[in-house]
């Protein structure tokens, strides 16, 4: 599903980003990415979601090499991914409902279907009573849950979540963990970057450990 071979990505001479990263994440796998602050977790996810270009190495998504991919195709790939951004990236001028709906609108879904699915997913993250609010009027944890809702509403084949529980209390974090497990069980590949060691220890999932832009351990599937 996700394959990287000797990938290098740099933000400029003083900021290496990723160095010689090789890893493979199988279809329907659940993988954690950990590592200290600034290790390159977000960078790795950005490369996978085609928001950042690698300077060197090979990347295959869904078995397809994405080295010299065109704009149009990039968009198509993104439609099969859901991303929970570390800084949420919600649109401040659209309501919670509209923010979540975007993932479906870009797919051209009908209004009835959109309304139904958005309602369901907001209930899943416990925000049905916030549907008509604007993101800037939400608490940090509420915003984070909107971001989660937007990422999962279109049943993505790859779900990436960057520190999705950083603003949530213990109980909610566990709920979100259960939610992601369920999505994973339905066949989605899930990649979660997190510092939440308790969560990692609760599960049996593989842990990819990054440090200073390099994969230190866990790059290849366990089997």
């Amino acid at each position: 599903m996700i394959q990287m071979y000797h990938v290098y990505m740099s933000y400029g001479s003083d900021s290496p980003g990723l160095i010689d990263v090789s890893l493979r994440i199988e279809k329907a796998e659940f993988a954690f990415i950990t590592g200290p602050s600034g290790a390159g977790k977000t960078s790795l996810l950005r490369v996978i979601m085609l928001a950042e270009r690698s300077q060197n190495g090979q990347i295959l998504l869904f078995g397809k090499n994405v080295a010299n991919i065109k704009e149009k195709e990039r968009t198509l790939f993104r439609r099969h991914m859901g991303v929970v951004f570390q800084d949420f990236k919600l649109l401040p001028s659209r309501t919670v409902e509209q923010n979540v709906a975007i993932s479906l609108e870009v797919l051209g879904k009908g209004r009835g279907e959109i309304r139904k699915k958005v309602g369901e997913v907001l209930e899943l993250v416990g925000l049905e009573h916030r549907a008509h609010r604007l993101p800037p009027t939400l608490s940090g944890g509420e915003q984070q849950r909107v971001a989660i809702a937007r990422a999962i509403v279109n049943d993505p084949q790859i779900l990436m979540a960057d520190e999705p529980t950083g603003n949530l209390d213990q109980a909610l974090s566990e709920e979100i963990g259960v939610l992601l497990n369920r999505i994973n069980a339905r066949g989605s590949t899930v990649v979660v970057a997190t510092h939440d060691t308790a969560w990692i220890q609760r599960t049996q999932h593989r842990v990819i450990h990054l440090e200073k832009g390099r994969v230190v351990s866990g790059g290849m599937p366990l089997g």
Binding site: K89, S93, R94, V106, G108
Partner: protein, 297 residues
Amino acid sequence: MSKIVYFSMQAFRHIRRNTVVAGVTVGTVAIVFLLLCVLALVGYNLDRLGERLKAGLYLVVYLEDEATEQEIQEIKSTLESSEVVGSIRFIDKKQALEIFKKRLGAQATLLNEVGPDTLPSSLEVKLSSSEHSTKSIEALAQKLVSHPGIEQVQYGQAWLGRFFNFMDFSRLIALLIGALLVFATLMIVSNTIRLSVYARTDEIHILKLVGATDNFVKAPFYIEGVVLGGLGALLGIGGAWLLFILARPLVTIPLGPGSGDLNLEFLPISSVAISAAGGAVVGMFGTLASLGRHLRI
């Protein structure tokens, strides 16, 4: 179809949520169009003034005393065949002296001892009021001079010639300013829209990250640009109309004895429609100019 509805809804939502930016954009477009309209209004009415004054322009063709009846007929037919010419009046020697005396006014006593044969008879040629330049009138005069039977050709009211030269010059300048203003309109409106698009760079990035195509991102912006541009243009034209309504009773241009007054007139409805459409187009191109560089991600 349903896509257009969807994109329009997005555009209107955005306008409603960002009233300050939308207001500033509409206001800027309105002011620029107000200016453009006022300039057009002034130009249009000056043109109308010119038309009316041209009606007062005439040539006097002085005939030689020895001119034969046939020569006079030939001259008349030359005149009649010219599109510059409106009507022709024959003035015999006696009428000519009367007219000359009237024109001299207080000094008319000078001519008390002058016989009725002294002045030549003449043809007074009124010019057609439409589309002749001073150039074409001069060309006609030049052509007539060489005609047998003609002593001299003069302008009826010499100052009008100079006046028209001045008007031609003014029109050139007005056109220049007008062109500059149209250019300024384009620049200012596209700059304003660029600023408001720039303020939404983040939004564009997010949409693209969530899987939106370029067109999906662009469409609402275009609709917004068109709506705000068109609305601004309409407001500007409305403002110009208000100014016009206020100015009309204050401005009447006397055209001289017998010719009545010239009242101001608003721009023809077709130009108004074109301007409003222009606002929409300007809004669209402003968006076009601003969007390109923000879509790379």
